[in-house]
């Protein structure tokens, strides 16, 4: 289970100078087990190893990090104080603020941070082998990702649940605050576009997938009406009905695929783009109870259930990893899935599973308003992120149990693979791997898809890997097609929920920003204002989605780096704000805790961003590629990837837009960083601590759960 990395509870033993011999022995054992896992990973050369070693190395490291590092951060760096009342206690209003059981809040927070990112990123990163990805997912989460989530959560909690943007404005300055706000909005647009593209690539030309994912809309509507009119408030009951209907929809998809109705559900990528854009608009203007809320329940249930299933599957089936530990693409940077060498592009691609800037938005959103006791930031902030990292490790395993030949046949751009299984087989052979055309046809047939060639985006690869693992445990080879479509459905559901919610959040941000210029548009109840701003948000991500889907060179290869850099830049903003706040609070001594991950993240993102803008290698630099194609247009030539002159112009336009966007992101984040640096210097030089917006100390009147030993069912039910 993912949670097994955590001790039984977030309980803190009262200050004790030494560990008891028993717990010392246990922790030495945990350290040894983890070390054995790492040793097996490090020492295996050439031979195939079991995925279990990855799991062992991950869980062992998480346990040690949680027990020692997160405790050190909580006690020494943040100095959490359980006698201090949290905003949930002080401002309790029964709506936004109320002290919530830590186990429940852990679930809430995890459901809010976990999405498709940690599933897709590691799959693409498998291009460089399983070892670099695993090392970064585990080391990155321990020293960067989980630290960021926990400290942002703590700082926001000490400020009555202020958002990251507000904290930046209040504590750093107007310029940095404004840059952070615009940056967050722009980054979100790219995020939505790339995630939607993953869905499009997973559903295009697949009747089964399209049918079952389309069915989620009537199912969600049914749940919405059921909850509103028939059984108000019975969420658990409704969710179970919804999940049952969802499973039926997956089975029904198989039936549709084999029937004469199939042709109505085979949609081209372009059609899917228009459907998604239309859906995104409608979903963001409909009342939340109709579509958004029930879909969110469904997605949460599926998320937790599938992740648990996956953990069981990996441990029970114990598949062997077919991928190499480190491929040559790690050093040459010429991989077909994403371009560029290990540093910095591996870290950009993995993104969310190790460090995710977006979590800073969730950690400074609802969660800080619900924490019962300060020390619980450890379980909720650090613990949830460790769990998310474990999900990323499992996604990496799912990608690495596939034959490398199949992996590259699925994930390389269509321009490289060509239209048929024969051309794909040949292209894969040129990359240095083997898969016969017959094997490709058989692999597609096993999951009842028309073809698996060029199904980039990560979702289909993950689904094939999951089907492989699940079929080994539940149901055998005959169930493979079901599990494949189950996995596709689960990812699409995740992503569509993110698209719904993200469009709505984006709309509020836009209304807020535009409201400064023209008052009426800021009013949240003025219908035309809602429609205009929703259309603007949907139009913005819809543009990038369409551009990506129709990109002759492969949208994932072009846009995923933009997405990864955007996400990691947001993390740089969050880490810069936290480092500045630590220094402002007179904790210069401990500033390295967020300062080191910040330095690393800035090095990674700015190197990657710089290369994307200025590299003269057309495989990496947006403008270099643009120039190459523009020069060819002048000469009237067609270059690889383009089948006609329109394609050539599309490539030139897309790369110009991507390059400009990249440069804008870098400038926005640079503004925030400089502003933070100025505040830091001022804070260090100032003889008295600079003022902060931390809420003053109020003594807590509620008991910490550590003191009253209530059992799980002891809570009022």
């Amino acid at each position: 289970m993912p949670t097994s990395a955590m001790p039984e509870s977030g309980r803190e033993v009262p200050e004790k100078s030494r560990m008891s011999p028993k717990s010392l022995a246990i922790w030495i054992a945990v350290a040894l087990v983890g070390a054995i896992g790492w040793a097996v990973l490090a020492l295996s050369r050439g031979e195939e190893i079991s995925a279990v070693w990855l799991v062992v190395a991950a869980l062992g490291s998480y346990a040690i990090a949680y027990r020692f590092y997160s405790r050190f951060i909580a006690r020494r760096v943040l100095q959490v104080d359980d006698t201090r009342a949290t905003p949930a206690e002080r401002l309790e209003d029964g709506v936004d603020f109320h002290p919530t059981d830590r186990r429940v809040l852990f679930g809430h927070h995890f459901a809010a941070i976990a999405g498709a990112g940690p599933l897709v990123g590691p799959v693409l990163a498998a291009q460089m082998g399983y070892l670099p990805g695993t090392v970064w997912i585990i080391v990155g989460v321990i020293f960067a990702g989980a630290v960021q989530d926990m400290i942002v959560l703590f700082l926001s909690m000490r400020r009555d649940g202020k958002s990251l943007g507000q904290m930046a404005r209040d504590e750093i300055g107007r310029v940095g605050g404004a840059a952070a706000l615009i940056g967050v909005f722009a980054i979100m647009i790219i995020l939505l576009a790339v995630l939607a593209m993953v869905v499009v690539n997973a559903l295009a030309e697949s009747a089964w997938g399209t049918f079952s994912v389309t069915m989620t809309i009537p199912i969600a509507l049914f749940m919405g009406f059921y909850l509103r009119y028939l059984r108000p408030g019975r969420v658990v009951e409704t969710s179970f009905i919804g999940v049952a209907l969802l499973l039926l929809a997956i089975l029904g998809g198989g039936w549709i695929q084999d029937s004469s109705l199939a042709e109505y559900f085979v949609w081209s990528p372009e059609t899917l783009v228009f459907c998604l854009v239309g859906y995104g608009f409608v979903a963001s203007v409909l009342p939340v109870w109709m579509l958004l809320a029930p879909r969110d329940y469904l997605s949460t249930f599926m998320k937790v259930g599938t992740i648990a299933l996956m953990a069981v599957g990996v441990v029970v089936a114990a598949p062997t990893l077919k991928a190499e530990s480190v491929t040559e693409f790690a050093s040459t940077g010429t991989g077909p899935v994403f371009a560029g060498s290990l540093f910095p592009f591996l870290f950009i691609t993995i993104a969310c599973g190790a460090l995710s800037g977006f979590h800073a938005l969730v950690s400074s959103g609802t969660t800080p308003k619900l924490i019962q006791k300060e020390s619980q930031v450890r379980l909720i902030g650090y613990g949830s992120m460790l769990t998310e990292s474990f999900v990323a490790v499992m996604a990496l395993i799912a990608a690495c149990v596939l034959e490398p030949g199949l992996y590259y046949a699925m994930n390389s751009p269509a321009a490289l693979l060509g239209p048929t299984v024969e051309s794909a087989s040949e292209a894969v052979r040129n990359l240095g791997f083997t898969i016969t055309p017959d094997q490709l046809t058989a692999a597609a047939k096993a999951v009842e898809e028309q073809t698996l060639v060029g199904r980039s985006g990560g979702a289909p690869t993950l689904a094939v890997g999951m089907a492989e693992i699940f079929a080994g445990v539940f149901g055998g080879a005959g169930m493979k097609a079901f599990w494949y479509h189950f996995a596709i459905m689960f990812e699409a559901l995740f992503i569509l929920t993110t698209v719904d919610a993200g469009t709505r959040v984006g709309r509020f941000m836009l209304q807020d920003m535009l409201g400064n210029v023209w008052k009426p548009i800021g009013r949240v109840t003025w219908k035309p204002g809602i429609w205009i701003t929703s259309a603007l948000v949907v139009g913005a991500w819809g543009y990038f989605l369409y551009a990506g889907v129709t990109d002759p060179l492969g949208g994932i290869k072009q846009l995923f780096p933009l997405f990864g850099i955007a996400n990691q830049l947001l993390a740089a903003v969050a880490l810069a704000v936290t480092t500045t706040l630590l220094i402002k609070h007179g904790k210069l001594r401990w500033a390295w805790v967020t300062g080191i991950p910040l330095a690393w993240d800035v090095a990674v993102t700015f190197t990657a961003g710089w290369q994307k803008v200025f590299s003269d290698n057309p495989a990496i630099g947006f403008f270099a590629l643009r120039d190459k194609y523009a020069a060819a247009i002048d000469k009237g030539e067609l270059l690889p990837g383009a089948t006609n002159m329109d394609d050539m112009h599309t490539i030139v336009l897309n790369n110009t837009v991507d390059g400009v966007i990249m440069a804008i992101f870098l400038l926005l984040v640079l503004t925030v960083l400089i502003n933070c640096a100025v505040v830091c210097v001022r804070a260090v030089r100032s003889p008295v601590p600079l003022p902060t917006t931390e809420a003053p100390y109020v003594e807590s009147r509620i008991d910490a759960p550590e003191q009253s030993d209530e059992p799980l069912v002891g809570a009022k039910s």
Binding site: D101, V104, G107, I113, T498, G502, L712, V713
Partner: protein
């Protein structure tokens, strides 16, 4: 723990996680703060809650 206790624990957790238990907490709070006023029905409370959700969108992560 016996099976029944487990079942109750799971039910408690699911109700808390999905927010189904919020209504009970709201009623209890309502009775404490406004002992005279009638407690809103489940349906009324749900309408209030959706309205609140409408105005406070919560982002999901990637």
């Amino acid at each position: 723990m016996s099976l029944r206790r487990w079942a109750r624990a799971v039910r408690w957790y699911l109700r808390e996680l999905t927010g189904e238990a919020e209504y009970d907490r709201y009623c209890e709070r309502h009775r404490r703060h406004h002992p005279q006023a009638p407690v809103p029905t489940r349906r009324e409370y749900d309408t209030l809650r959706t309205l609140h959700r409408e105005e406070h969108p919560q982002g999901r992560c990637c």
